[in-house]
Symmetry: D2
Subunit: 137 residues, 4 copies
């Protein structure tokens, strides 16, 4: 990885406010903060263009619904080649959170997540998609 | 407005992808694109901190519902000191779009928009909040 | 427009919390609130499928930059068949807000908005896309 | 959990489009789809009101940056009482994904995530917050 340095011009008021934001978020320097903003923009584009992405699917449900866990298991097995890992956390006596990490084309991942979220008994489901990191130095 | 110039370091691959994005979006140069990313971040913070904001409220409805227009008018008059302007566009025989520009504290604006969106007959309502521009050079 | 009535089952705790939310947002009844949630979901899908949409483009800028206003005018004229209206509001001595209403395919509208937002001198630009209302009763 | 049944009125065109959406997303019935829309709305409110939430923090980074892993470890240990679990996945030779599950007040979780995302070497970080499930039947 080769670093390239170039100059950026900012109005003084803008840079003052940006520096305050950077301190609050504890960035080590301006370059790192700007890199983050740029990468966020690039990832948003990747997803819009249906590139290969990593999906983080969060499912919140009541684990007393035994049938649900069977369904969850079946659906995941049917598409196991797209699943990287599954993490299960017990939030309290009733609720648990399952985080399923997926990899595939942006739209396929979306379709698969939609089906899991639609299962009866899932209280809350949310898919977040990000880059696979390959072209994101 | 005084411009300050400073150096930023980016991995070469990242800068290549960023330059492609900049060309597609037709930015005149990197500085302008980076300023935009920074300002977007600052505005997001302003809204979270309940600062004074400008609100753009979009309401889509069927104008044959005369009662709705009366209600819309009444609610807007009651809060006229927060309304900058209202623009009305006829989309087709049935549908029209009303864009209400608001100014006030972020949460007040949200509350006011919620009430307008909840009116019976509004098909779609959406509030977008942005900076008043005062501290955003 | 013909109304169809059907039954929905909700856990009692969920309905209690939903009713509180409805009161806060001042919805006249549950049906209206549920219609809004459904329409929001449908509009999100329309945009993803690149259907015909209405775009609300908000541009915040310092009107002392005379060149910017020329550029804004030229770009808008070049695509006038997609512009429904333009509203201009003076926020203070320096800042003004321009709201451009657009109509066209979801992606074309995005591309056009990207170019306007990228103009030097625009402090903040944001595109919000919604339904044309045609198939949204 | 006690189910309450009530009637909802929808325009026939709207219900037709909703039913198509439901089929595509594979919901078992309308009630389940409507419950999901309602819960999504309630969770959004919980977060705005700084309630106790579960956070899913996704960090994408190049694992060759050994220093980064040390920093990640230290920061996580310092706040271990808020961390439910950490899952690590190797995406390819260079990239890995770490998913950190957090629990705490909405704003504290955000502050903690900001610090982790700001670490030098993190390519992409994203926090998603959801309900703890407690009052969400």
């Amino acid at each position: 990885m080769h670093l390239i340095r170039f100059g950026v011009s900012l109005p003084d008021q803008l840079i003052k406010r940006f520096d305050r934001l950077i301190r609050r978020k504890k960035y080590p320097n301006r370059s790192e903060a700007i890199r983050d903003l740029i990468r966020k923009e690039l990832v948003a584009e990747e997803i819009e263009n249906d590139g290969e992405v990593v999906g983080v699917l969060t499912l919140l449900y009541n684990h007393h619904q035994r049938e649900l866990q069977d369904h969850l298991g079946q659906l995941q097995h049917a598409q196991h080649e797209r699943i990287l890992s599954t993490t299960h956390v017990h939030l309290d006596h009733d609720n648990c959170l399952e985080v399923v990490l997926l990899k595939g084309q942006a739209k396929q991942i979306k379709q698969m997540a939609d089906e899991l979220i639609a299962l009866k008994g899932i209280k809350q489901g949310q898919l977040y998609r990000t880059s696979t990191g390959k072209d994101l130095s």
